[in-house]
Every structure is written in C-alpha cells, then in structure tokens.
C-alpha cells in the first residue's frame, strides 16, 4: 500500500528526514512513533504529496505520489496535525464541498456524507458551524472528511492531540473501528494509543527509522529476558544472596513492604524463572504470597530505543 524508498527532506540548514525506507502492506495498522521534531509530520506530508522530497520516492497503491499526484491522492484519506478546517462553514456544507473536490460522484455525495457522519458520530451536528464545535467534534469532522471518498489508506497525524481524556477515548474507539476496513498509518507520541490500536510500530528519531516491528517483538528484542515480581517474607539479604547464587537471577532489587515482607523484582534470562523461584521458596521454607510476570510497557521500549540510538551516535 505504501512503499517509501530513500526518502530525504532537507530544509535550509538541516535534514528533517534522512534516507527513510519502509513499506506498509494492505490492511496493516501501523503506528508511527517518535519524539517531537523527529520528522513524523514531515514524513507524513511527503507521503500525501504536500511536501516534495529532496530525494527518494513514495508509492501509494502503486502510484508515484510526485509523478501521479492526483491518482495517488484519491487513495489517501489524510488528517493533518491539529485538524485544520474552514471554521466559518457548517458541517454539512464542509463535507459536501470536500466530497465535491475529492471527486465523489454527484449522486453519491449525500449518501457518502451521511455514512461518514454516522461513522464519526456527527449526525446531530450537521447544521452547526464548525467554529462553534468543541475540539473533539472538530477532530471528528476531520476524520469524516478523510473518509469521504472511501480511501484505501488513512494517514492520521496525531489524531488525539489536544483532546481531553474522554474525547481521546472516543476518537481512539473510532480509530479502532476504522482499522477494520482501512490500511492505517497513525502518528502519535502517546504510547498507550499505539499499544492499543497498532499491530506494527515504526519508530523514527532524528529523521531516521530506528525500529520497525510488532509491539510484541519489539518487547522481546529489547528484553531477551523476563522480569518478574515476587513477594517473599524473610531476611532480604539472605533471600537476595540465595537468588543470585542460584544463578537464576541477574538482577534482584527489593523494596520493603509491611513488616517482614519484601517485594523483589527479578530480571532473568531464564524464561522458567517463576517455577524456579517457587521451588526455591519451597525448599528454603520461605513464605511466598505473590509471583507474577511483569510485561514491559511500550514506554520502556520507546525510551530504550531512543536512548540506544543516542548511545550509538556517541560511540563512533
């Protein structure tokens, strides 16, 4: 669906996007992550043909975005960052105008408009002036606009930026529904959003793609080991020493709980570590009341990848 090869964009004095290549297959839901200023928006603008690259090509549904822009754009539904709209127009007027310029057949304009309004929960606000709508509703109008011509590919640049938690939940739910029918590329720096919706993650930092994988394999790649937490009663020094001496744990950290109890966080390369801790507790006669596998959040992964990238940069 999307094929990006060696995409580079230089602005006066600095390189915003540096030799980026990636592919997105039909039906995929891809999260595009990166710190602020990493080049997410610039990349998305090039994907939609709004910005011309210094070098490189973008193909959308087989059409080169820069040589065949009109055909390529027919396959894209794009919602720019902060969702700019003509605030003096009514919702219905705006959607009709957008359908017209997107080449929706005359007879289908009203039908398509009603469908997207229904999809985005705008049925009651058709007569309202966009400027008087709340930010959450405006975001929905932007989404409805991107869906009007029933595109194969949706590109959404920070769709939940600036919304309150309630609105974020609503928009996220909407995106999840859309993901069933469209290929989706979604940029954000809100990690739980990606964790909940995306099946693949692209991480961009300083204009370069530093990771591209599913959230699970990113997690695995980063860890290669497991993190468990255990609550054990007894002398912490002795327990720690035993765990370490058994060779089953690489790192043991403990934090005291109420009298006699301590919580241990154990980092180990042994995938069977929980069974071994349990056996150890039985044989030594420790009291064990909790033992569970902790999953690392995407946030840990993101921070680690960006940090590794920085470290790699310093070394040479």
């Amino acid at each position: 669906m999307i094929k990006v090869s060696n995409l580079t964009k230089q602005f006066a004095g600095h390189t915003a996007v540096d030799d980026v290549s990636f592919e997105v297959k039909r039906g995929e839901i891809v999260g595009f992550l990166g710190p602020n200023g990493a080049g997410k928006t610039t990349t998305m603008r090039m994907l939609t043909g709004f910005l011309h690259p210094t070098r490189g090509t973008v193909e959308i549904a087989g059409y080169n975005v820069f040589e065949d822009p009109i055909e390529a754009r027919r396959h894209i539904g794009y919602m720019p960052e902060s969702c700019p709209l003509y605030t003096e127009m009514r919702v219905d007027e705006y959607l009709k105008f957008r359908a017209q310029i997107k080449g929706v057949a005359r007879k289908q304009i009203h039908e398509r408009r009603d469908i997207v309004k229904e999809q985005c929960g705008l049925t009651d606000v058709g007569r309202r002036i966009i400027g008087q709508l709340s930010k959450g509703y405006r975001q929905r109008v932007g989404l409805a606009d991107s869906l009007l011509h029933d595109p194969d590919l949706l590109i959404l640049d920070e769709p939940t930026a600036g919304l309150d938690p309630n609105q974020i939940r609503e928009v996220r739910e909407l995106i999840r529904q859309l993901a069933e029918r469209h290929t989706l590329l979604l940029s954000t720096h809100i990690l739980p959003e990606v964790e909940m919706t995306c099946r693949r993650i692209l991480i961009i930092n300083k204009g370069k793609i530093v990771a591209s994988d599913s959230p699970e394999s990113l997690q695995k790649r980063l860890e290669g080991d497991v993190l468990i937490s255990a609550e054990i009663a007894g002398d912490p020094a002795a327990i720690e020493a035993t765990l370490k001496n058994c060779g089953m744990a690489d790192v043991v950290l403990h934090e005291p709980l109420e009298t006699g109890w301590n919580r241990y966080r154990i980092d180990s390369s042994d995938p069977d570590i929980r069974t071994r801790v349990f056996e150890c507790a039985v044989s030594k006669g420790w009291k064990l009341r909790e033992l569970h596998l902790e999953s690392r959040s995407l946030e840990d992964i993101f921070v680690a990848i960006i940090r590794d990238d920085k470290a790699a940069e310093v070394k040479p």
């Binding site: 603008r45 709004f50 011309h52 009109i70 720019p80 700019p84 957008r98 017209q100 310029i101 997107k102």
Partner: protein, 243 residues
C-alpha cells in the same frame, strides 16, 4: 471542471462570510457614490462624469484589491487549511484559477451597483441622460474588469509568497501604486521622453478614460491580459515552490 466550480463557489462563499468583504463593499460604494455625485455636480456633460467615475473606481481598486486578495493563500497557509486543500486530489492550477475566479466575481458584483448611478441620473435629469452612450459605458466597464483581473492575479501572487496577509496587501498596493501614480503624475515624472512614454503606457487611469470615451486600444487589452496570465502562472509556480 466540477472541482473548479466547487472551489470557485467555496471561494465566493468565503468572501461573503468574512466581515472584511462587507467593509470593502461599503467603502467602495461610498467613495464611488460620492465621487460620481461630485462629478455630476461639477461637470455639465454626463459622459465626462462617466469617465471620471471609471477613474474613481480605479482609485478604489488601489485599496480594495490588495485587501480582497491578501487572504487568498496567506490565510489558508496560516490556518493550515492549505494542507487539507492541497492533499485533496486537486491540481495546483485549478486551485489558483478557482480562487482567481472567486475574487474576480466578487469584484464584479461589487461594481454592479455603480450601474445604478447611471439609472438614477436618467431618472433625475432626463435631458442629460439622453447623452449617455451605451458603447463607451460598456467599454469603460470592460476595461475596469481587465484591470481588476490583472491586479487580482498580482495580489494572489503576493499572497502565495507569504503567510502574512499584511505583507501581501502592502506588496500588492506598492506595485499597483506604480501604475496609479506613474500614470497620474506622468507629465511631471521626468524630462526624459522615454520615461514619460513608458509612464503613459502604464497609466491605467488613461486607459480607462480612453475606453470610456469610446476608444478601445488593443495595446492595453494585451497588457492586462498578458499580465493576468503571467501573474496567475507565477502564482501556480509560487504555490508549487513553497512545498
């Protein structure tokens, strides 16, 4: 073509939805109305007043055109709607020509009530009105439209080059000023005959007076048409280049 009409309608609607258009409309009708009243009062010959009216309209253009065109691209760029527009399946040239057609249509609608002045004259002074000649009046208005087209295209170019509306308006005003004052003070411009000749060619006021007298000069027609095409072409290029 459907896209063009959709864009044109949107542009025209945007004009009527902005308060600045109404301010311009009021300003234009007030100045031309008072101007025509004064001309009729001072001149006995009604066709001289019509020629004068054309020059008053031209003077009003100096303010109205920069103000009407400054928002075309600069505002969209500032609000970010330029991005939504240019990522829709529309060509740069259809956006530019539709916006141009939108502003020109608004300008023509703004000029239409001035025809009422002639109708009122006919009512109040039937003898004088018998001297009103339809040909030169039509010629005068045609020239007004040609001049407006060229300067609207210029104003759009200025708007496409910056995201600051004030800068766009002042740049347009400055270039129009050369045509306006260059023509007005042409006799005092320089002793050099060549400079004076060029000043005469560029004098929009002179072109208007002549066409309202019934003399239609193809040189001015070529000047304004080619200027329109050139500025529109440059605007398309400016839109492309700012990507």
């Amino acid at each position: 073509m459907r896209t063009f009409f959709a864009l044109w309608r949107r542009e025209l609607a945007a004009m009527f939805l902005s308060p600045i258009a109404y301010v311009m409309l009021m300003f234009f009708l007030l100045v031309t109305g008072c101007g025509f009243y004064w001309l009729v009062k001072e001149n006995l010959e009604v066709m001289r007043s019509v020629q004068g009216l054309m020059v008053v309209i031209w003077a009003c253009m100096l303010i109205t055109i920069p103000v009407l065109t400054m928002r075309t691209f600069a505002e969209e760029r500032k609000n970010g709607t330029f991005e939504t527009m240019m990522t829709a399946p529309v060509t740069d040239s259809s956006v530019v020509t539709a916006k141009f057609a939108g502003v020109l249509t608004f300008f023509i609608l703004m000029c239409l009530p001035t025809l009422l002045y002639l109708a009122i004259t006919r009512q109040l002074a039937p003898e004088a009105a018998r001297l009103i000649d339809a040909g030169p009046v039509a010629g005068g208005y045609l020239m007004v439209c040609l001049i407006a087209a060229a300067f609207i295209a210029l104003g759009m170019l200025a708007s496409a080059l910056t995201s600051n509306q004030i800068i766009a308006a002042i740049s347009t005003f400055s270039v129009m000023g050369i045509f306006f004052f260059g023509g007005l003070f042409e006799p005092h411009l320089s002793k050099n005959p060549m400079v004076r000749e060029i000043g005469g060619y560029l004098s929009s006021a002179l072109h208007l007076m002549e066409s309202a007298r019934g003399v239609f000069d193809s040189r001015s027609l070529v000047l304004y048409l080619s200027a329109t095409v050139f500025f529109l072409f440059a605007t398309v290029k400016a839109v492309e280049a700012r990507r």
